[in-house]
Amino acid sequence: MITCKWTSKVERLLDGESQEQEAVQAHLADCTLCASHQRTLLQVRAALGAEPEVPVLSDNQFPAFMEGIQAEVSRSRQRPGGMWALMSLSAAALVIAIATFSIFTGPGPVKANEVESVSTQLNDATVHWDNSDDGVTTIWISIAEDDV
């Protein structure tokens, strides 16, 4: 492999660190090896410059970075599931309201016995009915003495 002792100077020139820029420029005009090396370096740097810059986290930014992660994690834990949770809670509240209404209002007090209709086909007989104070209904078929 053929090398030139000026290659390191060419590199420093590209890095902007050269103390002898004019001499290196003059050498590049005469040395095809260094000129080729310079082109290669320029191509590599151009390719690296096309890649997106990766953000670098400095030490003083790290605590803020961790706090942000913690805050986001705790916020996602508190979120109850959006629309589904709202609908479920609404349905549960409705059921509670209906059940409470049913339990506390109830069907109301049950009325006493009632005779809606009463009749007999027996001769000389009549039928009466009444309710006693304790809720017993009496239906009384009154028949003439000589009729069985």
Binding site: V95, I98, V115, W129, I139
Partner: protein, 162 residues
């Protein structure tokens, strides 16, 4: 998590509601009694009439014979016939629950007509709205010999699930 809790809560709350408004089965308790007035100071009740002493004590008799005691559980849409005595038959349809907690019952007591041609007639035909566990007393039908036929009916209701 929230969805599961909500569904469980709905099921728990819906359970008593469904029981309260579920189908109910009715059962009839029937006492068939021969009531007479005899020359005796004390009133006598046959064994088996303990539950209806209070109802019978309002009648103008002092001797109560237990002809029969029956408990009948109704099925859907049936007409029940129960032979009371040689002269009388009770016919009753299945009680139908009303919204007010009472049960609608059609009740007939059938007998043979006195005059020929003898045919089945209604000694009593009535339609009742019965409150469960409140008794109904039917009286006045004459028996052969002496005394009168007394019926005491009480409807009880139980939930279908039980």
């Amino acid at each position: 998590m929230f969805r599961s809790l909500s569904v469980a809560l709905m099921l728990v709350l819906a359970f008593p509601w469904s029981v309260a408004y579920g189908e109910a089965r009715s059962e009839l308790k029937l006492w068939v009694v021969e009531a007479r007035s005899v020359e005796r100071e004390a009133t006598r009740f046959d064994i088996g009439l303990d539950a209806i002493h209070r109802v019978l004590s309002g009648l103008p008799h002092n001797d109560y014979r237990n002809v029969s005691t029956e408990t009948h559980a109704f099925n859907d849409q049936e007409v029940t016939r129960i032979k009371l005595t040689s002269d009388y038959t009770l016919e009753m349809n299945t009680p139908v629950a009303g919204e007010d907690g009472r049960f609608r019952v059609r009740l007939r007591i059938l007998t043979q007509s006195k005059e020929p041609p003898r045919k089945e007639i209604e000694a009593l035909s009535t339609e009742l709205l019965l409150r469960p566990d409140k008794q109904v007393l039917v009286r006045g039908l004459k028996l052969k010999g002496e005394g009168e036929l007394v019926l005491v009916l009480a409807l009880s209701v139980s939930d279908d699930a039980s």
